[in-house]
């Protein structure tokens, strides 16, 4: 059985830690465990959010206190969640009947370089290749959404080819345009709206990453497969309309 650890995150949340590294296997476990906990619909559980190698569970301690008797609400939550996590890790995701990765793969069109990706040149220089090679490398990758965080709809993607890893900018930008596709170390992500940011910008997508008016506000979801397709400025403008 894989080890796991539970720890309090303040007095109204806890973290289930399945590992301390970014890797696809641990992340798939975290996503499946989050799904299992969500489907269990335990009373007093307010929110469940997976991350790279952990799951965050927010609870309403006034609701849990009613069932806790002599224990604290945290002890009760930790007991429930600890038991479910232990069983989940024993049986594996398949044994629990939880299905993940059902969301269909999404192709994200990206206009690379130029004003859309002002750091493409720096990333190429860092990798010791030309810009075309960076574009081909990035657009041919097979990515998976590890988690959303930082901002509504901001996806952290796994699967960036090692040759494209690039350090963050020495001085962060105060304004990164919405839709910017960026590399920060081993991670690649997409800015859902104009924000400050320190990642290297290699391109931009015309798709809206987050729109609260949509039935599914976030364009991408944890576990979803993503591929990028290089487009030119004309297609960017056409898709933006």
């Amino acid at each position: 059985m894989n080890p796991f650890a539970l720890e309090p995150l303040g007095d109204s949340a806890l973290l289930i830690r399945l590992g301390d590294r970014i890797d696809a296997t641990t992340n798939r476990s975290a996503l499946a465990l989050a799904e299992l906990l969500r489907s269990a619909a335990l009373p007093g559980i307010r929110d469940i959010a997976p991350a790279y190698a952990s799951v965050c569970v927010h609870y309403d301690l006034a609701v849990l206190a009613k069932d806790a008797s002599t224990r604290s609400p945290y002890q009760l939550a930790a007991e429930w969640i600890g038991e479910m996590t232990a069983k989940f890790l024993e049986d594996g995701a398949a044994g629990t009947g939880v299905q993940i990765g059902e969301v269909p793969m999404l192709e994200v069109p990206v206009c690379y370089g130029g004003e859309f990706g002002p750091d493409l040149g720096d990333v190429a220089t860092h990798a010791g290749v030309d810009q075309r090679t960076v574009i081909d490398g990035h657009a041919s990758g097979d990515y998976r959404v590890a988690m959303l965080g930082f901002m509504p709809g901001f996806p952290y993607l796994l699967g960036l080819d090692e040759s494209l890893h690039a350090p963050r900018r020495a001085s962060p930008r105060t304004r990164v345009p919405a839709g910017s596709v960026a590399i920060g170390g081993a991670q690649t992500g997409i800015y859902p709206r104009e924000l400050p940011g320190g990642w290297q910008l290699i391109g931009r997508t015309p798709l809206a990453l987050f729109d609260p008016e949509r039935e599914r506000p976030a364009l991408l979801h944890p576990g979803q497969r993503v591929r990028f397709r290089a487009i030119d400025a004309d297609e960017f403008a056409a898709l933006k309309r």
Binding site: S12, A65, L148, P212
Partner: protein, 341 residues
């Protein structure tokens, strides 16, 4: 009915008790910074305690009411006038259609709450009417209110908005130019248990996941020294200045969940306490966790104010929260009974 914003003050936004259930897509809770003050303001006008109301920061707005309204002010002590009448806080006050409410500076604290009977009636965004300014999510495009905004107010089922309504048991005061004025309840809440009027009570802090990674002197300093609330502090986080804290050795972490109350330590050594607009994930070491019950107290400190942390345990933090919830529920019940008379 609606309220016209004539001037917004420093920052006035629509807030309720927050957005729950969307952390997996990166949507945080937001909601009132001092949720106790929000709930009591709502109770005083007969609203559900989590109804949407105005959160006023540091300096108040000027508002015009197009109908009769029952209002209540709680939280930070703010100068409040309606035409020539002074509006006392922590009680229901009836004001007449056409009145202008002028909210000024705060004598103590950083956030006042203005609730209006019927509540602010805006379409919920992902289940909540709170404004997440950092994420630009919520009513009015997720921004603070600006001059010219018309803020819709819900209707109330009873006769609370009629000037003949006597439940206030109050005194009606008119003024010389014929303004019918203001009816002020003769009773009010004692703010003392709910608002730290001197602004010097300590804030309870439990050890965070990475507390043990602080060096020895930093572990001591965290609970022994006084921090200053930095000027960059806002609804996302309070940046604390003072003695620098150090990790030994430094930690490289991957992003995982954070919550309001999480105290992070970025590399510059100045801790940040995440507040109502906390993001859902973060990658800095978590050295402490402010007790949820004390977040309103911290939220009422303004930039330049000082804060001391006193160590608490998780069990004690939960017990104090539950005690407060019981006291608050009893008080809110009593207010509703009082309003029925």
């Amino acid at each position: 009915m609606s309220v016209r914003v004539l001037s917004p003050g420093w920052l006035t936004s629509v807030q309720d008790s927050g957005r729950i259930g969307h952390a997996a897509i990166g949507v945080g809770r937001a909601g009132a910074m001092d949720d106790v003050a929000l709930r009591l303001a709502n109770a005083l006008v007969g609203n559900a305690e989590n109804a949407a109301a105005f959160e006023i920061t540091l300096r108040g707005p000027r508002l015009r009411f197009d109908s009769n309204a029952l209002i209540a002010l709680t939280g930070a002590a703010i100068d409040a006038r309606c035409e020539t009448q002074e509006i006392p806080p922590w009680r229901p006050v009836w004001i007449q259609a056409g009145s202008e409410l002028d909210l000024g500076s705060m004598r103590r604290g950083a956030r006042s709450y203005l609730a209006i009977a019927g509540g602010i009636d805006v379409a919920p965004v992902l289940g909540s009417c709170s404004t997440d300014i950092n994420a630009a999510l919520g009513p009015f495009g997720g921004r603070g209110l600006v001059a010219g905004d018309d803020v819709p107010i819900g209707t109330t089922a009873d006769d609370r908005l009629s000037p003949s309504w006597t439940a206030l048991g109050g005194r009606r005061t008119g003024d010389r130019d014929g303004h019918e004025g203001v009816v002020t309840a003769h009773w009010s809440l004692d703010p003392q248990p709910w608002f730290d009027a001197r602004g010097d009570l300590p804030v309870a802090l439990a050890r965070g996941s990475h507390f043990e990674n602080l060096d020895r002197s930093s572990r001591r300093t965290l609970f022994a020294s006084e921090f200053r609330v930095g000027n960059e502090s806002n609804r996302v986080g309070y940046r604390l200045e003072g003695a620098k804290l150090r990790l030994e050795p430094t930690l490289e972490l991957i992003s995982e969940g954070v919550a309001p109350g999480t105290m992070q330590l970025p590399p510059n050594g100045n801790p940040i306490v995440l507040m109502a607009e906390a993001p859902t994930t973060g990658g800095y070491p978590r050295i402490g966790m402010v007790a949820t019950v004390d977040l309103p107290r911290l939220a009422q400190r303004r930039p330049g104010d000082h804060v001391r942390f006193v160590e608490t345990s998780l069990a004690e933090a939960q017990t104090r929260y539950l005690q407060r919830e019981r006291a608050l529920a009893a008080l809110i019940h009593a207010i509703h009974e009082r309003l029925k008379r």
